[in-house]
């Protein structure tokens, strides 16, 4: 974890809005790490097997494919 999630620096009103439970934070980190590894492995596979007709790096293409309003 980046170390910036601390309850001591937050006003009490934010307790209900921002997660500080280390178990939950670890789970989020684990989930994002798994997604990140899966995504990067797909990028690497695409680079090793370039597709015809496209010189755009896979990473950029995938990001572009995400389109607007993905939050």
């Amino acid at each position: 974890m980046g170390g910036t999630v601390t309850s001591s620096s937050m006003p009490p009103e934010l307790d209900a809005l921002i997660e500080t439970d280390s178990k939950i934070l670890d789970q989020v980190r684990k989930d994002l790490s798994q997604e990140y590894i899966l995504f990067m492995s797909r990028v690497m596979k695409e680079r090793l097997a370039p597709q015809a007709g496209g010189s755009t790096p896979a990473f950029d293409r995938m990001r572009k494919a995400s389109g607007p309003t993905t939050s």
Binding site: G2, T4, E19, V28, L32, E35, M62, S66, T70, S71
Partner: protein
């Protein structure tokens, strides 16, 4: 023609969005504990739950159901969502919250994530989009149910900086750009609904965005 008093009344019936906590790490953002009035939050959540015409979108970066409210202008029960007076108040209050003026051209969409769906780390750094405001709507999600909006200081999981709880009717706002890294952790249980406001710049074309306009 609607009177200014009536316009204010309409806006007050829809938007709460009075308390805002501004934060700077990992990049400027704000969080607000109550975005809509309780009554409208219930109306909108019920509409989202009632089988709206969701479109599944899956890419290597994310998987989720989406809809754009521009295609639902005929739905009278939620039309206050894009009422020009409501959007004017939103624009003004959002400008104060962001600390910079935002546009009155506003795209409004919604996302639904079910078990297994997620949004990997991305920035949404699109030329026509300047700011994002995400409102969470649910009937109570356990802390370990997944689907947490997360802000990061960089493009890798090691850069996690803020993980938001899923308090219903809370909102998070941030500017969009090359460093606005964020993600949605994988949903484990239940359904995660969010309403997404995107404030557009002049670079956003009518061909790409089915947006609404503030009065």
């Amino acid at each position: 023609m609607i009177s200014s008093a009536a316009a204010i009344e309409v806006a007050e019936d829809i938007l709460a969005f009075e308390t805002v906590f501004r934060r700077t790490v990992p990049y400027p953002h704000f969080v607000s504990p109550q975005f809509y009035t309780e009554r409208f939050a219930e109306t909108l959540l019920a509409w989202l739950e009632s089988g709206a015409d969701w479109r599944l979108k899956e890419t290597p970066l994310y998987a989720q159901y989406e809809l754009g409210f521009g295609k639902f202008r005929h739905c009278t029960e939620i039309q206050s969502l894009w009422d020009p007076a409501v959007l004017a108040r939103l624009r003004d209050q959002a400008s104060r919250a962001y600390g910079v003026p935002v546009s009155g051209r506003i795209n409004i969409s919604a996302h639904k994530l079910v078990s297994g769906q997620h949004g990997s780390i991305h920035t949404d750094n699109e030329p026509g989009e300047t700011h994002r405001l995400v409102v969470q709507l649910n009937r109570g999600r356990a802390n370990d149910s997944g689907g947490n909006l997360t802000l990061l200081s960089g493009p890798t999981p090691a850069d996690i900086a803020v993980v938001f709880k899923q308090a219903s009717n809370s909102a998070v706002g941030f500017g969009l750009g090359p460093v606005s890294h964020h993600a949605i952790s994988r949903v484990r249980t239940g359904t995660r609904f969010t309403v997404i406001y995107t404030f557009l710049s002049d670079a956003a074309t009518d061909a790409k965005y089915n947006y609404f306009v503030a009065s």
